[in-house]
């Protein structure tokens, strides 16, 4: 179980390979990767992600531990960046490894749902018209209800 909160870019392929190679008895590996999308019609200059150092690591650690307790997982990984990014950059990833695919899928969705609404990150999109804080979506909050 690894948690990394960092300003630096990460390498999806290398992370996926390292994660997969470390699994001894897992038959199923799921990864989710979040990518910076451009503004509708284009023009995103940059996205800035602010976070709450200290609380961020605690929140992600608890979410990962909850997933490990709830599903039959052999491992989890969470990487989340902060700072400035451009369209197409990778924001974050999670990975789960399990004996069976149902556990790996459900745990990855659980990690994402909680990470979206319970980990202290805030996105601001900077375009030609200035900066806008991204509003939380009701459906992200609603997504927690299924767990």
């Amino acid at each position: 179980m690894a948690i990394r909160v960092q300003a630096e870019p990460f390498d999806l392929g290398a992370e996926a390979d390292t994660f997969a190679a470390a699994q001894a008895d897992a038959g199923a590996i799921v990864t989710f990767t979040g990518v910076v999308r451009d503004l509708p019609g284009g023009g995103l200059d940059r996205m800035e992600i602010e976070h709450y150092p200290g609380m961020t690591e605690r929140a992600l650690g608890r979410i990962a531990a909850d997933a490990m307790a709830r599903w039959d997982l052999s491992d989890t990984l969470i990487i989340h960046r902060h700072g400035a990014m451009r369209a197409g950059d990778l924001i974050m990833m999670v990975a789960t490894a399990a004996r069976h695919r149902k556990d790996a899928f459900e745990a990855a969705e659980f990690l994402m749902d909680y990470l979206k609404s319970r980990a202290p990150f805030w996105k601001k999109e900077h375009g030609a018209a200035g900066g806008d804080w991204v509003a939380a979506r009701d459906e992200d909050e609603d997504a927690l209800e299924r767990w």
Binding site: E50, Y52, M55, A135, E141
Partner: protein
């Protein structure tokens, strides 16, 4: 003395990321009342509590959470990570 932290547009409206606050409030809601009374920028930031979330000692909490023994309170909008 409590460390009070602000993030995202709460930080921008108030104009600083954190400050040390001397408070007599017993709960987060009481602290919010004290801050609102300070200046317009605080009143503006705390105008609509339903748009805000609070963490007490780095754990999500409610506005009626007690401040007894608390070191750090943070105010911010709903999270948008991932």
């Amino acid at each position: 003395m409590i460390d009070v932290l602000y993030f995202a547009w709460v930080r921008e409206r108030i104009g600083l990321p954190r400050e040390r606050v001397e408070t007599r409030a017993g709960t987060v809601a009481g602290l919010v009342e004290e801050l609102r009374a300070r200046e317009d920028r605080y009143a503006a930031a705390f105008a609509d509590l339903s748009a805000l979330r609070v963490a007490v000692d780095q754990e999500l909490a409610d506005f009626d959470a007690p401040l007894d023994g608390v070191h750090e309170v943070a105010f911010f909008p709903p999270m948008t990570g991932g």
